[in-house]
C-alpha cells in the first residue's frame, strides 16, 4: 500500500484525475506484470492493463474502501479483464513458446544468457499452473502482497490462499526439477 493512498483514493473518488494519475503511476507496473504473466503476450497485456485502469477510473465513484487496500480492488478488476478478454477473443497461447522475447521484455538483466534461461523456465512453469495458482504466486512472490490482500483479490479466504500457494510451489518445484 502506498503512502497517502487513502487520501488519494478519496480525491479520485470525487473525480480528481490528478489523484488517480498518481495511483495509476504507482500501480501500473504491478498490474501490467500481473496481466503479462497471465496472457504471455506484450501487446495483449498492454491492452488489458489499459482497459482495467479505464474501468477503475470510470467506476471510482462506486469504490468503497471498507478497510481494504485499493490494490486488491485493482487486481480484481485486472483479473476480470483478463477473463473477459479470453472470453471475447478465444485465443490460446502456446505455453512452450513463452519466452522473455515473446513477452517483450527488454531488460539488461536478461543480457546474461543464464538469467534469460532461468526466466524462460520459470515463465513456462507458471504457465502450467491453474489460473488461481498463477494469481496467488504472482501476487505473493512477484508483488509481495500479504495473504489478506491476495485473499481479497482472488475472492478466497486467507487459509485457502495459503493452501493454494503451498500447492502451486510444490507443482513449480516438480516442473522445474524435470527440466
Amino acid at each position: 500500500m502506498m503512502e497517502g493512498e487513502k487520501n488519494l483514493v478519496e480525491k479520485a473518488r470525487k473525480g480528481n484525475s490528478e489523484a488517480f494519475g498518481i495511483l495509476y503511476d504507482y500501480y501500473l507496473p504491478k498490474i501490467y506484470r500481473f496481466v503479462l504473466f497471465k496472457v504471455s503476450h506484450k501487446q495483449q497485456a498492454e491492452d488489458i492493463t489499459q482497459h482495467a485502469f479505464m474501468k477503475a477510473w470510470e467506476n471510482m465513484g462506486g469504490y468503497k474502501p471498507q478497510g481494504h487496500p485499493f490494490g486488491s480492488w485493482l487486481y480484481r478488476i485486472a483479473r476480470n479483464s483478463v477473463i473477459d478478454y479470453y472470453r471475447k477473443n478465444e485465443f490460446s497461447v502456446d505455453i512452450e513458446a513463452v519466452s522473455p522475447e515473446a513477452l517483450g521484455i527488454d531488460n539488461s538483466l536478461i543480457a546474461k544468457l543464464e538469467v534469460k534461461l532461468e526466466w524462460e523456465k520459470i515463465l513456462n512453469a507458471i504457465g502450467g499452473l491453474t489460473e488461481v495458482e498463477q494469481d496467488v504466486l504472482i501476487m505473493r512472490f512477484v508483488e509481495d502482497l500479504p495473504h489478506g490482500e491476495v485473499a481479497r483479490a482472488v475472492d478466497k479466504s486467507e487459509n485457502a490462499v495459503k493452501v493454494i500457494q503451498h500447492r502451486a510451489l510444490k507443482k513449480l518445484k516438480v516442473t522445474l526439477s524435470k527440466k
Binding site: A12, R13, K14, G15, S17, F20, G21, Y24, D25, L28, P29, Y32, R33, L36, F37, K42, E46, T49, Q50, F53, M54, W57, E58, N59, M60, G61, G62, L103, G104, I105, N107, L109, V115, E118, W119, I122, L123, L137, I138, F141, V142, E143, D144, L169, L172, K173, L176, S177
Partner: protein, 145 residues
C-alpha cells in the same frame, strides 16, 4: 530445486516494467478521454436496487398471502375439479338415484310378500327336506280349498 530458490527466482520477475511509451499514452487515454461516473450515480443505483428488491419481496409475500386466502374461501376443505362437466355429473347421479329407488321398492315388495305362506312356498329354498315337506303340505291344503 528448493522452494526458497523458486521464490527468489519469482521475485526477480519484479524487474519487468511496462514500456514507457505505453505507460504515457495509456495515462493520457485513461485520464483525459474517459470520465468517472459520479458517486451519486452509484448511490442512486444501489438505493434503487435495494428498494426494488424489498418491493419485490413484499409483493411476493402479499401475492402468496392473498392467493392462499382466496383459495381457502372458494373451497374451504375440498379440492376443486374444474375440468368436470357438472350437468352430466348431475344426470348420472339422478339415474343412479332412480335405480336405487327401484331396487328399494322391489326389496319392500319381496319382504311384504314373504309374510304370505304361499309365496314363501313358491320361493326356492336351500333344498332341505323339511322345507319340501312343508311345501307339499301347503299344496295339499290349497287343493282342499
Amino acid at each position: 530445486m528448493k522452494e526458497e530458490h523458486i521464490i527468489k527466482q519469482l521475485s526477480t520477475l519484479k524487474s519487468i516494467e511496462p514500456d514507457a511509451g505505453f505507460a504515457r499514452s495509456a495515462r493520457t487515454t485513461i485520464l483525459y478521454r474517459s470520465e468517472p461516473m459520479p458517486a451519486r450515480f452509484f448511490g442512486l443505483t444501489q438505493s434503487l436496487s435495494t428498494t426494488l428488491s424489498i418491493g419485490l419481496v413484499v409483493m411476493l409475500f402479499v401475492f402468496i398471502a392473498l392467493g392462499g386466502v382466496a383459495t381457502m374461501l372458494r373451497t374451504p376443505l375440498s379440492p376443486t375439479f374444474q375440468g368436470v362437466d357438472e350437468q352430466s355429473l348431475a344426470s348420472e347421479a339422478g339415474s343412479i338415484n332412480q335405480t336405487i329407488d327401484a331396487r328399494l321398492s322391489e326389496v319392500a315388495y319381496i319382504s311384504g310378500e314373504r309374510e304370505n305362506k304361499l309365496v314363501m312356498a313358491t320361493t326356492p329354498s336351500d333344498g332341505d327336506s323339511n322345507a319340501d315337506k312343508e311345501i307339499d303340505l301347503l299344496l295339499t291344503q290349497a287343493k282342499g280349498y
